[in-house]
Subunit: 220 residues, 2 copies
Amino acid sequence: MSSELPDKKRISESTIHRLSMYFRTLSLLQKEGYETVSSKELAKREKLTPAQVRKDLSFFGSFGTRGLGYDVVELKAKIGEILGIDRHWKVAVIGIGNIGSALVSYKEFSRQGFHIEKLFDNDQRKIGSNHKGIVVSDIKNLEKEIAEDGIEMVIITVPATVAQYMVDDVVRAGVKAILNFAPINLKVPSHVYLRNENMSMELEYLSFAIVNNHTPKNMK
Amino acid sequence: MSSELPDKKRISESTIHRLSMYFRTLSLLQKEGYETVSSKELAKREKLTPAQVRKDLSFFGSFGTRGLGYDVVELKAKIGEILGIDRHWKVAVIGIGNIGSALVSYKEFSRQGFHIEKLFDNDQRKIGSNHKGIVVSDIKNLEKEIAEDGIEMVIITVPATVAQYMVDDVVRAGVKAILNFAPINLKVPSHVYLRNENMSMELEYLSFAIVNNHTPKNMK
DNA sequence: TTATTCATGTGAAATGCTTCACAAGAAATT
DNA sequence: AATTTCTTGTGAAGCATTTCACATGAATAA
Ligand SMILES: NC(=O)c1ccc[n+]([C@@H]2O[C@H](COP(=O)([O-])OP(=O)(O)OC[C@H]3O[C@@H](n4cnc5c(N)ncnc54)[C@H](O)[C@@H]3O)[C@@H](O)[C@H]2O)c1
Ligand SMILES: NC(=O)c1ccc[n+]([C@@H]2O[C@H](COP(=O)([O-])OP(=O)(O)OC[C@H]3O[C@@H](n4cnc5c(N)ncnc54)[C@H](O)[C@@H]3O)[C@@H](O)[C@H]2O)c1
């Protein structure tokens, strides 16, 4: 809050992903009883260079102590703040099928601040049913309920053929970010953030690697 | 096969991911009745520059016709060959819980050459049960059955606490690639390829973007 | 107190990736 | 047949990211 991020618009996607990795590893270090950790140790666990770790952090401030390293609890809190996971995010899942219901039952999300509070489907057998304490709403009320509840993030797990309609609806309802599992290129206005989760792509990467004996520098 | 890839070890991860995207879009173009496509049109659909599309393809050969573009069917076949999805991959899923069973019921994978042929779990209620025509095997037989069946890829959907044991087993059994859903840094020998699917990371990216008003060049 | 050790934070260099710009070649047009 | 139009394929330039290398400063030990 107090100290503004320097040039925060230019932070790379890779840096943000690495911050997520540091956060998870810091949680682990905390459990293991470490009080401090060096960029060297953190780098070793992530298979990165110590310079990379320090550079990533340096975009956001100076969090370490020379000669000692970083305070585990403090750095974890700081990264949580940077990532915005020190707050309560209201999330809805649209399409309570195979993947959708798997996500709903995943407890780890709420521990990271992502609280699934609304579920939607168009299947009469699913509407009204209870998943982990949440009753599935009729998709007809999508826009209205999302807006009323102040949902900020939406996870799309409907068939690709209807995904764009869902997006158009939730965008109108004021949603700020969408995580999409349908294998299709969705259109969103520039003020809405969109990420795609594509499992086929990862399998294809592995296939390519095997067939071509691929040995890249960073096999993330 | 005949024409060897030029310096194929140095192809970037991004290029390979984009090849997957081109492949999917070419399938769509084919359905829409297009016979040819230009780098300009392909780029527009992926929100890339035409130069990027041409450069990506140029690493693997010359597939286009000047003044005309690329033959949709031909280019799709060529990319399929490059990615290694023009063949039959034997895949096993380890851990038939929420995510694992969602993956098993996903038909799209087999259309891309990834055939899930073995399922494993340690839960007596699940062992012997039938998922989409496949009977769940006892995890005790993991190494033996993977080796016997010649499974080359494995998807890990067990709790993080036991994921490394599964990896060690399947590595011994000769598996070449692993797609891991457990939120943990797994160790594999250098001849085995590993990719991690991490949904929390994507939600965290969205959280960061909202909180910081992030506007990167490439929001993939 | 002073010396030594350790590890950060950061400009600068090195490396990697994307875009530019244009020659070359194929198709369509006159 | 010649000309125009179109789009590829690719060195080179431009930009972005990673790594190097070291001055700086804190902690620890003597
Ligand atoms: N299952 C997987 O492992 C997997 C993997 C990768 C991608 N995906 C993608 O995720 C999406 C969901 O996959 P799935 O396997 O869970 O499918 P699914 O058919 O099990 O689930 C889809 C759900 O969406 C609901 N739905 C359909 N039309 C709707 C509409 N108009 N409004 C509201 N709800 C509607 C259905 O009732 C169903 O509950 C698909 O786009 C799929 O391609 C799935
Ligand atoms: N469900 C999600 O949406 C989600 C999202 C992201 C990541 N993940 C990760 O995916 C993994 C699976 O998640 P899930 O929600 O499907 O959990 P789950 O508990 O539903 O499934 C885990 C399965 O693994 C089996 N298992 C446990 N120990 C085993 C062993 N030693 N050998 C063989 N099988 C064993 C269990 O019997 C169960 O069927 C976890 O690591 C989780 O963190 C899940």
